[in-house]
C-alpha cells in the first residue's frame, strides 16, 4: 500500500499520534503510589465524628471518654482548630450580590448537613480513631432542615444556616429584550419543566491527604490527592498563616478526580491543623460512606424553559428559569454558582438564535455542598436545548436532524457571539452533524425503527449538539478575586546523558496529561518520546500554574510545553552550532541527534552536546552560553475561552413492560481542535460519555424530607458499569484554535456534555408512539413505567 507521506512520517512526529501512556504499565503493575499508600514515620490517623442531623445546634460536646481510649493522641473540636485556621467564604467578586456563610474546619455551634465532620480524633491507627469516635457524646438540638427549593425561597422560610438573610446564594438575569412579544407572536412554542438529579463523582480512589507539619522549621508538607497543588499551597499558607514558600503540596498518583478533588473540604483543612497540634504527620482517607456524604455533589437543577420558532422551524427565542440547589454554603474557592451560571450561558449556544432571556436562582439547602464536576453545567444546558428542539421538530413536522441543519450556526459564520455573550472563534457544527449522520447510518436507523415498531420493539434515536467551554482565561476566576492561576509553567531541561525532563504545572489524574506533554516536548525537540520524562504534581519542583481542570491540560499546558521546548531547541542548536562551527539555522534535531538541516547528515548527538556542556565547558569558546534548561510560562491571551464543539447520537431500546432501557450504541463526533493523541482523546470521550449515561439512567443522590442521604453506598447509588454500557464510536473533526501554536482546545468534558441529552432524546423518541414523554434524569425504570401509565 502506497499512501502519501504526511507530517506524521517525519521522525519524532508525535503530535497527532496514538502513543500509549508510559505510566499505564506502572499503574497496572500495582506500582502506583497513591496518598493512601503513603506511610510516614510517626504518622497518625484521623477519623471524624459526623453529624447525624441535616441541621442542628451543638449544645454540648463530651470528649473525655474518647480521650481515654487506647491509642488516642488527640481529640479536637471546632474551637481547637479555629485557633489556628482562618475561616473561608466561597464567593467571587464578579458574581454580584453572591452570599455565603464563612466556614471553619470543624463547626463551633451549628451543623449544616448530615455527615458534616464535627469532632476529630487522631490515633495510632484508623481503627483506634474510629473506636474513639464512638465514645464521643454530643448533645444536638435539631433545627428545621431546608431541603426543598420552593419552600426554601418562600417568604419567612427557615434558613439553611444562621447568619443568612434568606436562602438565596446568587441570582442572575440575562435578557436581550422583547422576549414576551416574540413568544406571543411565534408560530410555534414548546415548553417543558426539566429535573436534573443530584449526583457525585465516585472516583475510584477516594479523597486522601497526609499533612506533615514540621514545627522545627515551621514547614508544612501536604501529600494530597488533588488536581490543583498550587491552589492548595496558597490556601494552606493563607488560612494557617504559614509563609507560602514553606508550604509544599505533593499530588502523587491520583485515581480519578473529575473536578471533585479541587475544592476545599473541611476534613482536609482540619487534617493540616491536626498535624500542627500533634507535631506529627496525620493521614485521612475518606471511606466510601464518607465520600458520599462529604465529596461535592453536582447538578440538582430544575429548569423551566420554552422555545419560540417560526413556521419553518427556525428558533426565534428561548426563555429559561433555572433553580439550582446547592449546599448550606457556597464551596470554596470556586463557589457553587458556576454551574448555574454556565447553564444559563450555554443554553442555545450551537444555534443561530438571537433572542434570549434567562433567570438563575442558586438556593441554599441542608445537603452536601455542590460545586464543579466534569462538564460543569453543560449537560443541563444541552439537554434543555436539545430536548426542546426535538419537541419543536415534532410540532413543526421536521426530522430532528433536519431541524438542527436549519438552525445550527453555519461553519463559515465564525467568529461570532452568542446572545449570552460568549465569543466563538471557529466551531464546526455542520461538519459534525453531517459526519454523525454518516457514522450512525441515520436514515437506515430510522427505517429500521419503523419496521421494528410494527413488531412491538420500541427503539429510539436521539441526537444532541453541544458547545464546550475550555481553557478559561483569568476572566474565569482571577477577575473574581480567587488566587487560581490561568497560566501554566514548565521547565524543560537536558540531562547530562542527553535525556530530557519536563517539569510542568499541569497535573495527571489518570487521563494522560503526562503522556501528551511528553509527546509535545519530544515532537518539538526532535527526540524519541521514550527519552522525555514528565514530572508533575509537586509545588517544590514544578513552576506555578493552574494545573488540570476545565480541559486546560492540552490547551494551556500543552502550549506551555510547546513554547518551552521550542526555546530549549533553539538553545541546543545554538550550542551545537558553536561546537560544530556551523550556523544554527543550518542544523536541526532528529531522533536526538543534531543533523544537517538539508542533507540529514548526522553531526553531533544531544548526549554529546550535554556531555560537553556539563563536563567540558572548558572546550567551549568564552562567549558560548550552554543553557540546557529553560523555564517558560504561558497564559491564554486571545479569546477568554477556547470553545470546542461536537454532536452525539444515542440509540436505545425501551422495554415498555419493565421500563428498562438498553443502550444499543452511542456515537460522538467531536472537534477539540488539534488532536495530540487520538487514543487518549477517544478514551476521554468514552469515559465522558459513560459518566453522562450514568447521569441519564443511573446516578442520583436521594434525600428524604429530613435531609438525610438515603443511598450513600455503592450498592444503592448506581454508577454505570461495563455490562450496561454500549459500544461508543467516535469521529473527529479538527478545527485548531489560532490563539496558540499548538491549536489544541481540550476534550475532557465533551463526552459528558451531551451524552445525557442524546439519551433523553432517544428515550423520548422511543416513547413517542405512546403519546408520553419524560423530562427528568436519571430516567429510572420507575419513572418510565409511570410515564407509560403502567404503574
Amino acid at each position: 500500500m502506497n499512501r502519501p507521506l504526511s507530517a506524521l512520517d517525519r521522525p519524532n512526529s508525535y503530535i497527532g499520534r496514538s502513543v500509549s501512556r508510559p505510566n499505564a504499565k506502572r499503574l497496572l503493575a500495582g506500582r502506583g503510589r497513591y496518598v493512601t499508600d503513603l506511610v510516614l514515620p510517626r504518622m497518625l490517623h484521623a477519623a471524624f465524628l459526623r453529624s447525624p442531623y441535616a441541621h442542628a445546634r451543638i449544645v454540648a460536646i463530651d470528649v473525655d471518654a474518647a480521650r481515654a481510649m487506647p491509642g488516642v493522641r488527640l481529640v479536637a473540636t471546632g474551637a481547637d482548630l479555629a485557633k489556628l485556621c482562618k475561616p473561608w467564604t466561597g464567593t467571587l467578586d464578579h458574581f454580584k450580590g453572591m452570599t455565603s456563610v464563612p466556614q471553619l474546619p470543624l463547626p463551633l455551634e451549628e451543623v449544616l448537613w448530615a455527615g458534616q465532620a464535627v469532632v476529630a480524633v487522631v490515633a495510632d491507627s484508623r481503627a483506634e480513631a474510629e473506636d474513639a469516635v464512638e465514645a464521643i457524646v454530643i448533645e444536638f438540638e435539631e433545627l428545621p432542615a431546608v431541603v426543598d427549593i420552593d419552600l426554601a425561597r418562600a417568604p419567612g422560610a427557615d434558613r439553611a444556616a444562621a447568619g443568612l438573610e434568606n436562602n438565596l446564594c446568587f441570582h442572575s438575569r440575562l435578557d436581550t429584550g422583547g422576549i414576551d412579544t416574540i413568544f406571543a407572536d411565534a408560530a410555534h412554542v414548546v415548553e417543558e419543566e426539566f429535573h436534573f438529579g443530584r449526583h457525585t463523582a465516585v472516583t475510584l480512589e477516594p479523597r486522601a491527604i497526609v499533612a506533615d507539619y514540621d514545627c522545627s522549621e515551621g514547614r508544612l508538607t501536604v501529600h494530597h490527592a488533588t488536581q490543583t497543588p498550587y491552589q492548595f499551597q496558597d490556601l494552606y499558607s493563607r488560612h494557617y498563616g504559614i509563609p507560602e514558600a514553606r508550604v509544599r503540596v505533593i499530588a502523587p498518583d491520583i485515581g480519578g478526580s473529575f473536578g471533585m478533588k479541587l475544592h476545599v473540604y473541611h476534613e482536609d483543612m482540619a487534617v493540616v491543623g491536626l498535624s500542627m497540634l500533634t507535631g506529627r504527620p496525620v493521614k485521612f482517607v475518606a471511606d466510601r460512606v464518607e465520600s458520599f456524604v462529604s465529596d461535592i455533589h453536582a447538578r440538582d437543577h430544575r429548569v423551566r424553559a420554552r422555545m419560540a420558532l417560526d413556521d419553518a422551524g427556525t428558533i426565534l427565542a428561548m426563555d429559561v428559569e433555572d433553580v439550582t440547589a446547592i449546599g448550606p454554603f457556597s464551596t470554596y474557592p470556586r463557589t457553587s454558582a458556576v454551574e448555574g451560571n454556565q447553564v444559563i450561558r450555554l443554553i442555545g449556544a450551537p444555534y443561530r438564535m438571537r433572542n434570549y432571556r434567562a433567570e438563575l436562582s442558586v438556593v441554599f439547602q441542608n445537603k452536601v455542598q455542590t460545586s464543579q464536576y466534569r462538564a460543569v453545567g453543560h449537560p443541563i444546558a444541552c439537554a434543555v436545548t436539545e430536548r426542546l428542539l426535538d419537541m419543536a421538530a415534532a410540532k413543526v413536522g421536521l426530522d430532528p436532524a433536519a431541524i438542527r441543519e436549519r438552525n445550527l450556526i453555519p461553519d463559515d459564520a465564525y467568529p461570532c457571539e452568542s446572545p449570552t455573550g460568549f465569543r466563538f472563534e471557529a466551531l464546526s457544527h455542520q461538519q459534525c452533524l453531517a459526519r454523525l449522520k454518516t457514522m450512525m447510518g441515520y436514515e437506515r436507523l430510522r427505517d429500521e425503527q419503523a419496521t421494528l415498531r410494527a413488531r412491538g420493539i420500541h427503539r429510539g434515536i436521539g441526537i444532541a449538539t453541544f458547545v464546550e467551554i475550555s481553557n478559561p482565561s483569568p476572566a474565569f476566576y482571577g477577575i473574581g478575586g480567587a488566587r487560581i492561576s490561568a497560566q501554566d509553567g514548565a521547565i524543560v531541561k537536558v540531562t547530562p546523558s542527553g535525556e530530557v525532563r519536563c517539569l510542568i504545572s499541569v497535573t495527571e489524574q489518570g487521563q494522560g496529561t503526562e503522556t501528551i506533554i511528553g509527546q509535545i516536548v519530544a515532537d518539538q525537540l526532535g527526540i524519541p518520546c521514550e527519552r522525555v520524562q514528565v514530572v508533575t504534581g509537586d509545588t517544590e519542583v514544578t513552576p506555578h500554574g493552574g494545573a488540570t481542570w476545565a480541559c486546560r491540560g492540552a490547551g494551556i499546558g500543552g502550549e506551555t510545553a510547546l513554547q518551552a521546548a521550542r526555546r530549549l531547541r533553539a538553545n541546543i542548536l545554538a550550542l551545537a552550532a558553536t561546537i560544530l562551527q556551523a550556523k544554527p539555522e543550518a542544523l536541526t534535531l532528529q531522533d536526538g541527534i543534531v543533523v544537517d538541516a538539508v542533507t540529514g547528515a548526522e553531526r553531533i548527538s544531544l548526549a554529546e552536546i550535554a556531555r560537553i556542556a556539563y563536563f567540558r565547558s572548558d572546550t567551549l569558546p568564552p562567549d558560548a552560553s550552554a543553557q540546557l534548561s529553560v523555564a517558560h510560562h504561558y497564559a491564554p491571551q486571545g479569546y477568554p475561552f477556547a470553545f470546542t464543539n461536537g454532536i452525539q447520537g444515542c440509540h436505545v431500546e425501551l422495554d415498555v413492560e419493565t421500563g428498562f432501557v438498553k443502550i444499543l450504541k452511542h456515537w460522538v463526533v467531536e472537534d477539540c481542535g488539534r488532536i495530540i493523541n487520538p487514543l487518549l482523546v477517544d478514551e476521554q470521550m468514552r469515559g465522558g460519555v459513560v459518566q453522562g449515561l450514568g447521569a441519564a439512567f443511573f446516578e442520583e443522590c436521594l434525600y428524604n424530607d429530613g435531609g438525610q442521604l438515603t443511598n450513600g453506598s455503592l450498592a444503592d447509588y448506581l454508577v454505570p458499569m461495563a455490562c450496561e454500557m454500549p459500544d461508543i464510536e467516535i469521529g473527529h473533526v479538527e478545527t485548531p484554535t489560532a490563539d496558540t501554536v499548538l491549536g489544541a482546545k481540550g476534550c475532557g468534558e465533551a463526552g459528558t456534555a451531551a451524552a445525557s441529552a442524546a439519551a433523553l432524546n432517544a428515550v423520548n423518541d422511543a416513547l413517542a408512539p405512546f403519546g408520553t414523554s419524560i423530562a427528568q434524569i436519571p430516567m429510572t425504570p420507575a419513572r418510565l413505567l409511570k410515564a407509560l401509565g403502567r404503574i
Binding site: 413492560e657 443511573f698 450498592a715 455490562c723 450496561e724 425504570p781 420507575a782 404503574i791
Partner: protein, 249 residues
C-alpha cells in the same frame, strides 16, 4: 462482611469455617443432591452434577454478584444469611430443598418452606451451623426457568424468580415458584402455583398465574421502587419465564 466494615456488627469472636473438610463436597445419593455448605457460588455455576440435577442453581449463579464474589461466596453462607434479595435462598424454596443443620444435639433437616422465617431470620438456633443443602434431584420430567430484573448486572434484583414445573406431558402436574426481593423472606407463589397445576401451560394459564400474584405477593413500598412497580415487574417476569418454558427448549 459489609456489616463488619460499616461497624454495624462488632462480634467478639469470628470463627473461620473455611477449612472444615466435612462442609465441602457435592454428592448424588438416593435421588437427593447433597451440597456441602461451603460449596462456592462458582461451583453452582460450573459443577456438572448441579447442572444436571439442580439446574435452577446453575441458572441463577451467573446473576449472583460478580466472578470475584462468586469465587469466595458459599451457598451455605448465602442460605444462612437469608438475604431476601438473594438468589440462592429463593432457589432452595423453588427446588423444595432441605437444610441440614448441626448442633450439640446432633443434626436435623429443615425444609426450605420452614427455614426462612423473617428478615434475616431462619430456623437456625444459636449454637447451630448449616452444614449442607439437600436438593431433590431434578429429572427429565422437570422444567425450570430463572430470571431477575436488576438495574445493573450483578446488582440485587428489583424482583427475581425461579420456576420449577413437574410436567412430564402437556399438563403441569405440580409447580413450585419462588420470588426474591419482594418481601422480608424469599416467597413461594402458592396461588400462582395452584393456578397452573393441572392445566396445560398456555396463554390463559400464564395470565391466571400472573393475576394470582396479587394474592401471593405484598411487596414493600419505597420511594425508589413503589410496591405497585414490584408487583407489576413480578407479573411481567413470571409471564416471561412461563412463556419461555411453554416455548420449550
Amino acid at each position: 462482611m459489609p456489616a463488619l466494615a460499616l461497624r454495624l456488627q462488632a462480634p467478639e469472636r469470628l470463627i473461620d469455617i473455611a477449612h472444615i473438610p466435612d462442609l465441602r463436597g457435592i454428592d448424588l445419593r438416593d435421588g437427593w443432591l447433597r451440597l456441602g455448605a461451603l460449596t462456592r457460588h462458582a461451583e453452582a455455576h460450573d459443577h456438572p452434577l448441579i447442572a444436571a440435577h439442580a439446574p435452577l442453581l446453575a441458572l441463577a449463579a451467573p446473576h449472583v454478584a460478580h466472578p470475584a464474589i462468586r469465587n469466595r461466596g458459599t451457598l451455605g453462607g448465602s442460605v444462612a444469611l437469608a438475604d431476601p434479595a438473594s438468589e440462592f435462598p429463593a432457589m432452595m424454596l423453588a427446588m423444595g430443598a432441605e437444610m441440614e443443620i448441626a448442633g450439640l444435639q446432633g443434626t436435623r433437616r429443615v425444609p426450605a418452606d420452614e427455614f426462612f422465617q423473617d428478615l434475616y431470620q431462619t430456623a437456625l438456633e444459636p449454637g447451630e451451623l448449616l452444614v449442607a443443602l439437600h436438593v431433590p434431584a431434578a429429572g427429565p420430567q422437570h422444567r425450570c426457568a430463572f430470571d431477575e430484573i436488576a438495574r445493573r448486572r450483578g446488582d440485587y434484583a428489583l424482583v427475581g424468580c425461579g420456576v420449577m414445573l413437574t410436567a412430564p406431558a402437556r399438563e403441569v402436574e405440580s409447580a413450585r415458584i419462588a420470588f426474591f426481593s419482594v418481601g422480608p423472606t424469599p416467597i413461594r407463589a402458592l396461588a400462582a402455583e395452584a393456578a397452573l397445576t393441572g392445566r396445560r401451560l398456555d396463554g390463559e394459564a400464564i395470565r391466571l398465574a400472573q393475576a394470582a400474584l396479587s394474592q401471593d405477593l405484598d411487596p414493600p413500598d419505597d420511594e425508589q421502587v413503589p410496591a405497585a412497580m414490584r408487583l407489576h415487574l413480578a407479573r411481567v417476569l413470571i409471564g416471561r419465564l412461563l412463556g419461555r418454558i411453554a416455548e420449550g427448549p
